[in-house]
Amino acid sequence: MTDTTSSARMTAGTRLYLYVSLSLIAILVLMPLVTTALGGFKSLGDLRVNPFGLPSEWLWSNYLDILFGDRYWRQMLNSLFIAIMTVTLTVIVSAMAAFTFAHVKFFGSNQLLNYFLIGLMFPAATAILPLFIRIRDLGLLDSYWGVILPQVAFGLGMSILLFRNYFRNLPEELFQAAFVDGCGYIRFFWHISMPLSRPIVSTVSIITFVHSWNSYILPLIMLNTEEKYPWPLGIMVYRGEFGTDWQLVLAFITLTILPTVIVFFVAQKHIIAGLTAGAVKS
């Protein structure tokens, strides 16, 4: 009896501890988002004297002006084009490379894989100057491809790693059965591996998409024409010679965050499934 009570008290205590800790973490994560969203409803003066509280007057016009202006939508289409092309190329190239690393044994395959994985250690920002020179030499400055190609290149390390692990976990007998049925490597890749790899394709797509969507430095360096700016560069427009309209920056940021959050909630099942694939024996 005593044991049961003590165990119940322990459980309640542990639960309380968990709720408090998780609530604190949730507040830490949500506070900047909520502050940003609320800041978008304020005037610049209100924002300066009252950065964290509710707006003294709700200025819906901050949001509406952005939403009804053509810049917001044009930049969204730019972001979409860059992100979709980055995702498509990353998935195709990394899936094919990962399939080779997973199934084909050839001289130096491990070294080559390690070479790709080294890419994980270098964020694009560290190589921005040589990258700029290379993109300039290729004549791709101020073009979408000047952003897309480096994004694909820097995303390959992680994508190949994820795809390779997934492909290696596909049952060996499936490969043998397909081989007996008359598949070669290419047919097995298209007819068997890829259709069975939806979770990992989703994961890689989402990770790459979000990365491209949030990319700031690369488009900032590679793009000069405002018509080609993606969303993250949109905030630059509100930076004037004598000051910045921070309330508009915050409203703009809030509106650009929303689609990513929605996509995450819609696709979170696939993201988690892909990231944990192969972690336990199915």
Partner: protein, 356 residues
Amino acid sequence: MASVELRDIRKSYGALEVIHGVSLAIVEGEFIALVGPSGCGKSTLLRMIAGLEEISDGEVLIGGRVVNPLTPRERNIAMVFQSYALYPHMTVAENMGFNLKLSGLPRPQIDKRVGEAARMLALTELLDRKPNQLSGGQRQRVAMGRAIVRDPAVFLFDEPLSNLDAKLRVQMRTEIKALHQKVATTSIYVTHDQIEAMTLADRIVVLNGGRIEQVGTPLELYRTPANLFVAGFIGSPAMNVLEGTVDAADGEPAVRLGDGSAIRIAPERKVRLGQAVRIGLRPEHFVASGAGNAISGPTLLVEPTGAQTHVLFEFAGEQITAVVDGDHPARHGSLFQAAMERNQVYVFDRATGAAL
């Protein structure tokens, strides 16, 4: 339908040789079972015939043609895997017709052949289902359907029933046998289950450590095992083995056991006086009473199985299993008395294990 011939097949992984020169001839339409303990090389041998494993040395001939350099598809074989290896994203019909689709066969012909195979295996109702909507037995039938739909020269089965429960295994065994009688395609069947091998195969190949121990019909292997390994492997429960020395009892050849008791053996056994041997006594050859060697000892365990009872008793310092009639009044602790005819006593050389 084609003959299969293995000529001095060897397989090495680096310096380690795992298949040591296996030669075997399988005639057209024959059902051959490869049996042996885990790691004996039976699956490796099958995979080499399939073309899924490289052959280090020797030749594989299918239909009289050396197939070493050919891909599995070019060898015109079909294989049924232990885990079924069905494509999870395809329906039953797509799984069965995948090979034909890759061959470029027109859709109506694919449908016709898949339909025929499905009728043969009672899968017609399941053609639109995905593998995860099927039971284990149904999946196994689809795997067989996928094999027969292409009308191969040789069927290869790699422990196809190992994942099924005992009841379904017996049912599927019957279906495989019936299927072979219907299509009469040359079949090579790998199993570690000697009952499966005995019931299905025209001939059994017993493998041990990458070598063939014996090839023969099920009854040949059971009645005249070439050595102690085959004798111990074929038959269930396993043969009882006792050590002794060749002696004479009442002027007849016998084997003197460790406790001094003598077991008379058939005069035609090629033994010499004083030779160190092992004798083999099949559990089912014990009779409650009768002529021959009288064998008795305290009963240690009684396992009724219905029609028969397995009795574990002690004799000559060893634990011996006997299979007797289900009505036998054996009881734990009581004296178990039985007899065995001398020509039922197997004799093996102790050093080489060869049958004498």
